[in-house]
Amino acid sequence: MALYTHHLPKWKKDEVDEIKRGIGEHSLVGVVDMYGIPASQVQHIRRNLRGTARVKMARNTLIEHALNEVGGSVVALREHAEGQSAMIFTNENPFKLFKLLEQTKTKMAAKPGEIAPEDIVVPKGPTSFKPGPIVGELQQVGIPAAIEGGKVKIRETKTVVKKGEVISKKIADALVKLDIKPMDVGLVLQAAYYKNTVFTPDLLVIDEEAYYRNIVLAAQQAFNLSVNAVIPTPLTIGAIIGKAVREARTVGVEASIYEKDIIDLIIGRAQREMLGVALAAEAHGFELDEATL
């Protein structure tokens, strides 16, 4: 099995061994992309993940070596180790890891040529700039800047880059000046190997709102079933009683059953019917006396 490593220099062999240990000791092995993350932020992310997940940076070739040496289905991770990759090890499940990594992302300034992850909006309001060439620079990229009260002000809220569009150099510069940080920067999970399955990010995005809606729906369905099928539970017995009472009252009124509890409803109904007929009669020439309405 030492097929690949026996020619490697010692430091490389140590790296590979460390990766192999990480794989052996964790139920989840992931490959993350670290492209464009400043070193300071990497430290920050590591700190946030401490106790939950470990990040191991290594050259892609060494990652490949390690995967090959471990062998088996984990080798499939190989094809996801591209660019500036790192390994991540954890005992959490891949959905949780994905969520965790999303949560460690922070906002950063956009670099020219990057894609807007969402609509980039410049809000209206005052800026800290004194009047100067900045006004023209902002206006040039379509930001409605103006001078007001000796300060540069954005006249109205404006979307300068739509989601998915490329951010040009001029806009990137303007955004930096305005201190707008549109980019989500953090570890991007490329793939996670967990219990013999490789999970890619598209499988790991959780729509929590959909879950919430489904919980509400399920609870409604249970409530409906309990009431409609008359299966009393402490939560629904009130509604069931209410239904029975409403039905009884309705039947009582519909059938004109003169009982104290509903006689007022019956009177009300008679009164409304009388008014309906009175108005119809009035429309056909019958003069109503004042008391009628």
């Binding site: 109904r269 409304r272 019917e273 009388m274 007929v277 009669a281 056909h284 019958f286 006396d289 009628t292």
Partner: protein
């Protein structure tokens, strides 16, 4: 509105809303009957679909009666 109630009573009982019938009902209730009003009522209702007028009125409903507890 005694006159209207008399008409409704007759209609519900399946009787014709005639001057005679309305007068009889009102008298039985001790009302001093005004002939002219009876005539006017009967004439007016001649062209009215009473069932329809009733059912329209009955729709009104629910929200009305406030917390009658």
């Amino acid at each position: 509105m005694e006159y209207i109630y008399a008409a409704l009573l007759l209609h519900n009982a399946g009787k014709d809303v005639t001057e005679e019938n309305v007068t009889a009902v009102l008298k039985a209730a001790g009302v001093a009957v005004e002939d002219a009003r009876v005539k006017a009522l009967v004439a007016a209702l001649e062209d009215v679909n009473i069932d329809e007028a009733i059912s329209k009125a009955a729709v009104a409903p629910a929200a009305a009666a406030p917390a009658a507890a």
